[in-house]
């Protein structure tokens, strides 16, 4: 049962993070746009994501929006949307920070060689920004993996919810929470190790 819960947790986190990365990239580009309307949309988006709890965001999407529009979506879909938007908001700030952390001299050097603005962004700035971002992005991934446990309240039998279910039948609180905790821990530990290898491989420092 717990492994079923774990696989749902991983599925939820995996799908959400893929969407979150895409949302994050576009939102960060909007945030750095010359167009004040796009910048405003990004600012409002990030402010709402930051300013409200994930739990409220999940309820709002699953019950609030579906109720208003009179549509039904699955709990998995609602959970994915909430987690994607939530992580996307934070990631957009991480990406923006990474891009702005690249030495302005890099852009100048590229432009002085005749590279266009977009060639400069994609060939020179983004590859360096990614390297700068890796630790913070991995950090956000870890947070989102654990945040799947919060979103379980809308009715998703992921790892934490499965733990609760087992305890309801067995009353073995101590053992179950140790095992559940260990499962999260191992997943995140593996991710961190992997990230550290990648980080080292692409590092530009001495």
């Amino acid at each position: 049962m717990l492994t079923q819960g774990l696989s749902l947790t991983l599925e939820l986190a995996g799908v959400s993070l893929v969407f979150a990365m895409v949302i994050g990239i576009f939102a960060s580009l909007m945030g750095m746009s010359k167009n004040p309307i796009l910048r405003g949309i990004n600012k409002a988006f990030v402010a709402i994501i930051r300013g409200t709890p994930l739990l409220v965001q999940g309820f709002f999407i699953y019950f609030g929006i579906t109720g208003l529009l009179g549509i039904r979506i699955t709990a998995f879909m609602a959970g994915t949307i909430a987690l994607s938007l939530n992580a996307g908001g934070y990631l957009s700030e991480i990406f923006r920070g990474g891009i702005q952390a690249v030495d302005p001299g890099q852009r100048e050097a590229a432009r002085s060689l005749g590279l266009s603005a977009s060639q400069t962004t994609w060939r020179i700035i983004i590859p360096q920004a990614i390297r700068i971002c890796i630790p913070s992005v991995v950090n956000q991934w870890c947070i989102t993996i654990k945040d799947t446990s919060i979103i379980s309240v809308i009715g998703l039998a992921e790892l934490t919810k499965m733990g609760q279910n087992i305890i309801a039948r067995t009353y073995r609180s101590f053992e179950v929470w140790i095992i559940v905790g260990a499962m999260y821990f191992i997943v995140i530990w593996l991710l961190t190790v992997l990230a550290r290898v990648v980080e080292k491989k692409v590092s530009l420092d001495d």
């Binding site: 001299g105 100048e108 050097a109 002085s112 060689l113 005749g114 590279l115 060639q119 530009l204 420092d205």
Partner: protein, 249 residues
């Protein structure tokens, strides 16, 4: 010898302000094909801003800069093409740290000139050999010394076959023992007839290599002339006091 036909850069009424602070207060200047012009002057006098206006890294507040008769304007459709002909070497090298030395040289030719990779590599290897760094082609920039980085940066700019090279204090960030190797490369380039504008604090280089010296102070060209004129017979009081300070040290 100097006529309008070989004017490479034409600068008219150039002014540049950052906020309320006016850095360049009206500069008129022609730079001729094949000429080596050194720009000297106190810190904050506007030398670097002047240089950066030539390839439009800074947009003039007023006035015009033309290269080969083409207006350098950030919003012009052909600004990227115009910049291809104007190489620039920076104080802090600004090599692309995520690319090998060779790729630093080939990225612009392959992206801009649609040069094949093989040809671009060949050109790049020739240039690296010229600056004495053929053995560093596969190295990453971080493994190079400051002097080596700057020589790669010069080769990178040359890879676009520019008709004009701008140098923004190319030796100011170097340890003293590495200044010579960079100046040697620049000297060689000047000897081959490259048009060069060099902002520098290396008075020995300016005196020896340049055809003309511009002394910029407080946002204007306070004095200009041959190295002999400016260094040995300065007319302007500010030039005299500046030279006294730098040559004494």
């Amino acid at each position: 010898m100097i006529n309008n036909e070989n004017v490479k850069v034409e600068i008219r009424g150039l002014r540049k302000s950052f906020g309320k602070h006016e850095v360049l207060k009206g500069i008129d200047c022609d730079i001729h094909t094949g000429e080596v012009v050194c720009v000297i002057g106190p810190s904050g006098s506007g030398k670097s801003t002047f240089l950066r206006c030539i390839n439009c890294l800074e947009e003039p507040t007023a006035g015009t800069v033309k290269v080969d008769g083409n207006l350098m304007d950030e919003n012009a459709k052909n600004i990227d093409e115009l910049r291809e002909d104007v190489g620039m070497v920076f104080q802090h090298f600004n090599l692309f740290p995520h690319l090998t030395v060779l790729r630093n040289l080939t990225i612009a030719p392959t992206l801009r000139k649609k040069m094949g990779e093989e040809e671009a590599n060949k050109v790049a290897m020739e240039l690296l050999a010229r600056v004495g760094l053929a053995d560093k082609a596969t190295a990453m920039p971080r493994s190079l010394s400051g002097g080596q980085k700057q020589r790669v940066a010069i080769a990178r700019a040359l890879a676009m076959r520019p008709g004009l090279m701008l140098f923004d204090e190319p030796t100011s960030a170097l340890d003293p023992e590495m200044v010579g190797e960079v100046l040697d490369v620049m000297r060689q380039l000047a000897g081959e007839g490259m048009t060069m504008v060099v902002v520098t604090h290396e008075m020995g280089f300016a005196r020896q290599v340049s055809d003309r010296v511009l002394f910029i102070d407080q946002g204007v060209i306070a004095e200009e002339g041959t190295p002999a004129d400016v260094f040995d017979r300065p007319q302007n009081e500010r030039t005299k006091s500046f030279l006294n300070k730098v040559l004494e040290a």
